[in-house]
């Protein structure tokens, strides 16, 4: 396995020159996937783009697109006695309408962070007296691992494991984005990991129906630049694969069959995009008994979007995060207002963490310690006492 940032620096430099050579006029490309967003910021790739080429983030960060109303349901479930919420780490700190899983945990709720869905099954097997709810978020990449966990839970006859499926599928979201008519996008950098499962054929509607091309890209600096060069070179819109070491046109049939057996399409609400028909995944009839909603009924109240938060516009690629008045001021990774500032794949978090050195976010003056964070007070590790210190 190669480590991030291991792309050859000369190759990156050559691709930057090539891009400058082929880019014509003003072009806006959307990187759909949160991992791309992070890579672009971490490698500082905006510094290498020619004038006129602009990269905007899309709706491909799973935590970010999870609707506030769905988060409210997770919080309400966390409050039920005997219920354990198992979730990926990022979701814990995302503000819901009136709380967050982090706050619920501090107030006594049992919230466990897992690295993989199978870990949640192990937890449930070890503690049969508690009901484990796996908050399932993510796209076609994560959903097969949740499907695998469900098969495992059934095989082991676990009656205390269920899945709150908030999974979403990507093509429908891109369609909704384009149908809204607000976004001006000249091409898509399509998600590499999702496409390992789905293949690239599912994006054919982009050139066929909307006249917009796309390139499936890997996650190294040279992968992203190469995808931009390929997009800029397209004479007519097409779907191409830049990430040939992992992605095929047809995708991974085994994973697709697993998805089709365990899940079925349903309508889903996306933060920023609203309700999109057929863009969610719920458990199929065969696995319905493992659906959390079949076991617990909760009243999550009316969802309330955080005032002033422009995550929705960020997720539609309409604004860059620094254009939000809250960015870097009221909304920082320490005190996030919106989901895009929480997730490690969120566009706001990526822009903030890896911002340009001269970015104006009033950072040091506004930095707030997270509640409960234990840090060494003061400036040094050791206090010094003595005559010279007293003189100082």
């Amino acid at each position: 396995m190669t480590a991030p940032g291991s792309a050859d620096a000369d190759r990156v430099a050559r691709l930057a020159v090539a891009l400058a050579g082929v880019a014509r006029g003003e072009r806006t490309y959307m990187e759909v996937c949160g991992t791309h967003t992070m890579a672009v910021s971490r490698f500082g790739l905006r510094d290498l783009l020619p004038p006129g080429v602009r990269l905007v983030s899309g709706p491909g960060c799973p935590v970010c697109v999870t609707a506030v109303g769905d988060l409210d349901v997770v919080v309400a479930l966390a409050r039920l006695p005997g219920v354990v919420i198992a979730t990926f780490g990022d979701l814990v700190r995302v503000p819901s309408s009136r709380s967050s899983l982090a706050r619920e945990r501090a107030a006594g709720a049992d919230v466990r962070v897992v690295y993989s869905p199978a870990d949640a099954v192990e937890l449930a097997a070890a503690e049969p007296d508690r009901q484990f709810v796996l908050a399932g978020i993510g796209f076609e990449t994560t959903a097969p691992t949740v499907a695998g966990a469900l098969l495992l839970a059934r095989e082991r006859g676990l009656a205390n494991f269920s899945v709150l499926s908030l999974h979403k599928t990507m093509p429908g979201a891109l369609r909704a984005l384009l149908d809204s008519g607000e976004s001006r996008i000249d091409g898509f950098i399509l998600p590499g990991h999702v496409s390992v499962v789905t293949g690239s054929d599912c994006y054919r509607f982009l050139p066929d129906e909307y006249g917009i091309g796309g390139v499936v890209a890997g996650f190294e600096a040279d992968d992203v630049l190469e995808a931009l060069v390929m997009l800029a070179r397209q004479r007519r819109p097409a779907i191409e694969i830049g990430y040939r070491r992992a992605v095929t046109a047809a995708g991974n049939r085994v994973a697709q069959q697993l998805l089709a057996r365990v899940f079925e399409p349903c309508d889903a609400v996306w933060r920023g995009l609203g309700a999109i028909p057929g863009s969610g995944l719920r458990l199929s009839d065969e696995f319905r008994e493992y659906a959390t909603e079949e076991r617990f009924a909760v009243d999550a109240g009316t969802p309330v979007e955080p005032a002033g938060c422009r995550c929705g516009e960020v997720l539609r690629g309409l604004i860059d995060p620094p254009q939000c008045a809250l960015f870097g001021r009221r909304c920082t990774p320490e005190t996030p207002v919106g989901a895009c500032m929480v997730s490690s794949e969120g566009s706001c978090a990526a822009h903030y963490r890896y911002r340009a050195i001269d970015a104006d976010v009033g950072d040091a003056a506004n930095r707030v310690e997270p509640p409960g964070a234990a840090t060494d007070a003061g400036t040094g590790d050791a206090a010094t006492h003595g005559p010279a210190a007293a003189d100082a």
């Binding site: 396995m1 940032g5 792309a7 510094d47 690295y115 050791a382 010094t384 003595g386 210190a389």
Partner: protein, 337 residues
Amino acid sequence: MPDEARILLGHGSGGRLYRDLVHDVFLAHFDDPVLARLDDAAALVSPGRIAFTTDAHVVQPLVFPGGDIGRLAVAGTVNDLATAAARPIGLAAAFVIEEGFEIARLQAICESMAATAAEAPVAIVTGDTKVVQRGAADGLFITTTGVGEITVDHEVSAAATAAGDELLLSGSLGDHALAVLAARGDFRFTLDVRSDCAPLWGLVETALAAGGEALHFMRDPTRGGLATVLAELAEEAHLGIEIDEETLPVSAAVRSACDLLGYDPLSLANEGKMVFAVARRRAADVLGALRGRPEGARAARIGTLTTDHPGRVALRTRYGTRRVVDMPVGELLPRIC
């Protein structure tokens, strides 16, 4: 030790069981004439300016590749003293032990503490033990407090740094944090990483000898990692910092694990590393001296202090692009030390 060799509430009572524990475990390992007097306070001779620090250790699990809570407790406090250019004189160790803890495990941890103290070198001169009922603590917590003699006359602090100073780092990043996480069983893959946990007074003494008054600042990048140390230094010194990604020492195993898990090696805790700011004229001397010791074999020059962008840390990537380095946020990895 009677009673199935486990810690009982009675071991914390101050009575006979307590005396047995002190003699059979603590005195047996921490062989020191001052401690052996068992006075309520240790009497030490103060040669001059004193540095004084304390650190609580709650790492989970108690033993991990490359170290354990005992080694960590000694090294952590010795290293905090070392940042003030202070030679460690004496440590106090306070143990909070959960009822039922196996005494053999306590013996092993005390043996490790004694070995680390000998390595530092420093004596454990006083201590305390409390036993809490089952469930009230997770096995064992150790707090160490240290006193050290400041060995230099010049100021060693962020305020003493100046634009043009070079930043040196004594070795690779992220080993401790990932070794502890792997030992916790959090990963579904095996990871061949050992904690770097080590007392660094010897290394610091070498650096001071090579750098003299040109050595302006030292800090150990523990929780929050190098990113936090640099961000704090930039703020406290009212200077900018430029670091070069290509020069940062990170092992291939740590890099790969960070890729999989989404961690940044700059933000991960270390327990056996030191960051130095040295005036440019002496930086090569200090770097050479560091590399002459095993703890500093991978020492590297990682960046410089500048009057540009005061208060901020800029990283130059290997692609020639630049971005900010920020402090990590919140509970990234609890109970890592």
